[in-house]
């Protein structure tokens, strides 16, 4: 499994779990899942660039 595919799998799992918890409507769960997924991906991209700038 490549690193990007693994990252996507982890982001989907985290976003799904975060959205399913609590008392929310279906629409709120979809928004929460999309938001968490995008934040996960943005964090990985930002972390990747940070490491690239630090280590070259």
């Amino acid at each position: 499994m490549s690193h990007p595919a693994y990252t996507l799998l982890m982001a989907v799992l985290v976003a799904g779990a975060g959205a399913v918890t609590g008392s929310r409507t279906g629409r709120e769960r979809v928004y929460a899942a999309a938001y968490m997924f995008l934040v996960c991906i943005a964090s990985v991209v930002a972390g990747g660039w940070f490491m690239y700038l630090v280590h070259g």
Partner: protein
């Protein structure tokens, strides 16, 4: 309308551990149960497919690691057990990647740990919802 009897905490804990998301099923939240069952099972199955380590680390395997790292390795193994049903099924089917073999497949090991953590999250959330509904 007659209020149903609250689910005992011990039943919630046992069902939540044995069946991923089982706590939700006991409090009547079937959608959340199905979704968590899928999430935990997918995480665990992917971890097994990637040959993640699952057995308790032996002394020889921890040789050369500092105390804190050894403790983390042992805690990680404990967390994998929290996945419940999938963990027991994998053990029954003789899935036995050791810690050393597993170290070569870090992705799988992390997914197995994640499956355990997701199951704990489901259990804690079912507990909170049960309290809120009472």
């Amino acid at each position: 309308m007659k209020k149903s009897r609250p689910v005992p905490v011990i039943a919630l804990a046992i069902a939540g551990w044995l069946v991923p998301g089982g706590g939700y099923l006991l409090i009547g939240r079937k959608q959340q149960f199905v979704l968590f069952l899928l999430l935990v099972t997918i995480a665990f199955a992917a971890g097994v497919a990637l040959q993640g380590g699952m057995l308790w680390p032996q002394d020889a395997e921890l040789h050369g690691l500092d105390g804190f790292t050894s403790l983390l390795a042992q805690a990680g193994t404990l967390v994998k057990m929290l996945a419940g049903g999938p963990y027991l099924l994998a053990r029954c089917l003789d899935y036995s990647q050791t810690f050393v073999q597993g170290r070569l497949h870090e992705y799988g090991t992390i997914l197995l740990v994640m499956a355990g953590l997701l199951n704990v999250l489901a259990l804690a959330d079912a507990w909170e919802l049960r309290k809120a509904e009472q």
